[in-house]
Symmetry: C2
Subunit: 512 residues, 2 copies
């Protein structure tokens, strides 16, 4: 790379980074863009590959897999990239097992579990409360939410203890949180949970496979194609795989000409930004696909959906039908949170199959292939599906979430305001970061609306000093025009110690 000069360097070839690169190129074909990726593939937390199946071999998603009809950002991209979708199969009886290993296994066909009426009532009231709170949340600046400080000072667990009355509902909520976030309710801020739900349009949207919800549709051929096709559009020549960034040195340009003086960040980023990433642990999910000759669960009237509480001893929290668009029968499931921490050994395959037998019948034993992926073991990711926020982050450090640091602009689904944590959020964040960079490099290509959008995203208020009204720009790093950098999935990067050593970009070429 020595001697080469780039206008924009994108760190990370996941969905947000590639979206940013694609947008930049679309809007200004003259920009020289380089995309650096540590892994030997594009796609980040989406990965699709073949395993043995009924008709020989077929491809499944081992990372992000669903999209929903309200996820406009990713839907537009799917259309632009000429990909097809098909619905999540959810007809038939769903299995539901909560309340310890000896509790009765229940089945139901509606979207509401066959719970005891008291638990059902409790659940309805609880969801009503959450949805009312969600309606008050400011997703752009969560600190403006009424009672923000109080909501950010408690865990979701504490809120559940105060507002859920039945043991049944508490266990239901544990399963739900584990399924969506890969962590336990004890491990995240209540305000973060509300912000995340609000960004998805309500808490039920996170959980269901009905129209508009997060588990509604799948992409034929797998979600990794989104990144692969974006890389094609941008040009594979701009993508360097297996090229992990080791350091980022920003160069001070006093007058837009290249000079020799360098700023080495010591520490490389503002304190607020460092403290933000220290409080965003990543979830732990193990995803499995089991392929079969026949969809025996359908023959038995099951949809393939199983929901189980941690107390049952079952390793997974949820499964779904995963029959491919080519008709190859399969089940998909997740081992998550506390359960993922427990089931780190290879014995988990046996435990998964044994639970499938228990809930769906003895045919579950006769699988073609079992394949799982522990995302905690994935280099440059360190976990899945999302980095959550611990209590006391949103009210103190949130202003630094999207605030550029000099030439560094932040993408990644964690920075999204619509469907944060999902593929759609990744797309939205990549687009926003691209607009920011265009605003720096060639503001004339932006519409007036877009310029306003960029400016307003910088002016998030910092609510740090409760008793004074004085506003302080804590992150007033002077923006150096001349080159820009998009750190996609950067939150994830800074969470993973084993990654950090490899994730540094020597920016020295900018001054050579």
């Amino acid at each position: 790379m020595t001697g080469e000069i780039w206008d924009v360097i994108v760190v990370g070839a996941g969905l947000s980074g590639l979206t940013a690169a694609h947008w930049l190129r679309e809007r200004n074909a003259k920009l020289k863009i380089l995309i650096l990726e540590g892994k030997d593939r594009v796609g980040g937390r989406t990965q699709s590959y073949e395993i043995p199946a009924a008709n020989g071999k077929d491809r499944w998603d081992f990372g992000g897999q669903w999209v929903g009809s309200t996820q406009t950002h990713v839907l537009e991209l799917i259309e632009e990239l000429d990909l097809q979708m098909y619905p999540q199969f959810n007809s038939g009886r769903k299995v539901h097992h909560i309340g310890g290993p000896r509790a009765r296994v229940q089945t139901y066909t509606s979207s509401i579990p066959a719970l005891n009426p008291l638990v059902l009532l409790d659940m309805s009231l609880f969801i009503l409360k959450i949805d009312r709170l969600c309606a008050t949340v400011s997703v752009d600046d969560p600190s403006l939410t009424p009672d923000a400080s109080e909501l950010d000072s408690m865990t979701l667990h504490s809120y559940i203890e105060q507002h859920a009355w039945t043991r049944g509902l508490k266990e239901e909520l544990g399963v739900a949180v584990r399924s969506v976030f890969g962590v336990e309710p004890a491990q995240m801020s209540m305000l973060f949970f509300l912000m995340y739900s609000a960004a998805a349009g309500g808490v039920l949207a996170l959980l269901e496979s009905t129209p508009g919800a997060a588990q509604e549709l799948k992409i034929k051929g797998g979600t990794q194609q989104l990144s692969e096709r974006l890389a094609e559009r941008v040009g594979w020549g701009s993508v360097r795989l297996g090229c992990a960034v080791k350091a980022i040195w920003q160069v001070q340009c006093s007058n837009k000409s290249r000079v020799r003086a360098k700023i080495e960040y010591k520490p490389p980023l503002p304190t607020q930004r460092e403290y933000l990433t220290q409080r965003m642990p990543v979830g732990h999910m193990i995803k499995f696909i089991v392929t079969y000759h026949n969809a025996f669960w359908k023959d038995r009237g099951f949809s393939g959906e199983i929901v189980t509480g941690a107390s049952t001893g079952c390793p997974f929290c949820v499964t779904f039908d995963a029959t491919s668009s080519n008709g190859n029968p399969a089940l998909v499931g997740f081992i998550s949170g506390q359960q993922a921490t427990y089931w780190t050994t290879k014995e988990r395959r046996k435990a998964v199959i044994s639970s499938l037998v228990q809930y769906l019948g003895p045919e579950a034993e006769s699988f073609i292939h079992y394949e799982d992926k522990d995302w905690a073991q994935e280099e440059y990711s360190g976990g899945c599906p999302v980095n959550v926020m611990a209590p006391g982050l949103l009210t103190y450090y949130h202003p630094s979430l999207r605030m550029p640091c000099g030439r560094i602009h932040w993408a990644g689904t964690e920075t999204a305001t619509r469907w944060c944590g999902y593929m759609s959020g990744a797309v939205q964040s990549g687009q926003r970061a691209a607009l920011e960079v265009l605003h720096e490099l060639c503001p004339s290509v932006l519409t007036e609306e877009e310029t306003e959008e960029v400016k307003s995203s910088y002016s998030v208020k910092s609510p740090l000093q409760p008793s004074t009204s004085a506003k302080r720009t804590l992150l007033g790093v002077p923006t150096v025009v001349g080159a820009a950098l998009v750190l996609s999935a950067a939150l994830l990067i800074s969470q993973c110690p084993e990654i950090l050593d490899k994730v540094k970009l020597y920016f020295t070429n900018l001054s050579s």
Copy 2:
């Protein structure tokens, strides 16, 4: 280093690392020990240096400074190293300002603030509750504490909201937590707070400067001398300053002889260990010393102790008299937690002096020198005084806190069971790690008692699966005998992204 073979490599020349090295050398003079330190000095989170003072110049502690008479581990070391102590000055009126900028500033001379009787009653009852809970805590294995899961699922803030009744007490507790931990009550687990208090012998011991408490005594000439004298004992020739570890590769030795095969951890540490460090953010403290010609506060009858709530607009939460053992008058104070995040600009000097004037008199304006240190800016530390634990850590990931990973043994005050977070805890942890390494390398030098101690520290139970009684060794990494490594302050290291790149040790020399 190429070609050199070491028996033990200590990463980090702070108090725990140097204690470990010293103990190893004392117990087995034949061991070849190398100590690698990224900073250009020893001492870690202790640092003492000279600033202008009444008699020309004098030395103050800008990091850890106090020891208490119940901190046996550090007291024994102080005696062994021939250092002298002197008491914290605390006679005279203390200043107390809580309840907003317009609240009355109060003064008192006892150890109990002159609070309104209702707040005093509330405080007494609250401290009683905490001390009763502390008595039930298992410091060695916090998951064995009654209601461990519940206590670890809430923030300290949530507990305070449930058990403190007056607004006054709530603000008092905010100040106390900020002063001790450098974080807000919202940012840590209630179970962690109890464990930390229990390790100190009770919650009051953390807060007071009375006999037995954490702020009782100071070391003449500064606390950094502890590390400097340890380095002398071990031999400066074994200490490499400015030598930051970049990677740790463990070498598989099948039969104690050196072979060429290497294991590169991908990820380098077990998932549980990674997830542990992701949930241990470091506190944020800025420490300041102001030197004066006269201890004018003493003339006015003040002790120099000021306690202020965040709502007052005052930047610091607490100050003390810091007159040196040579008689040079000074005040010491702390800007901490939320306030440290706010006061990152250089304007804080003006704000500090203005508050000192407000509370102690106009003479505060005529200082000789103001010096402060923002520990968030300190390379290889990233914050101070301690890494705290977020909710949902202790019950899920605690077993990996002291569990060796192959040849890597963990020191650092965060791993201590007595005075965790303090210098005394650092000494205890260094000694424990040294015993573990001796147990691997030359078990015959250990007494039977010590051997038992090492074995029992490895057998912490893993409480991960609530409904099954089966015990699982999650961290069953085979221990490879032949060489060992002590990672002191390793928790701290893995918390600081800007550090990580520099903190890696190429272990290749072991196989060369």
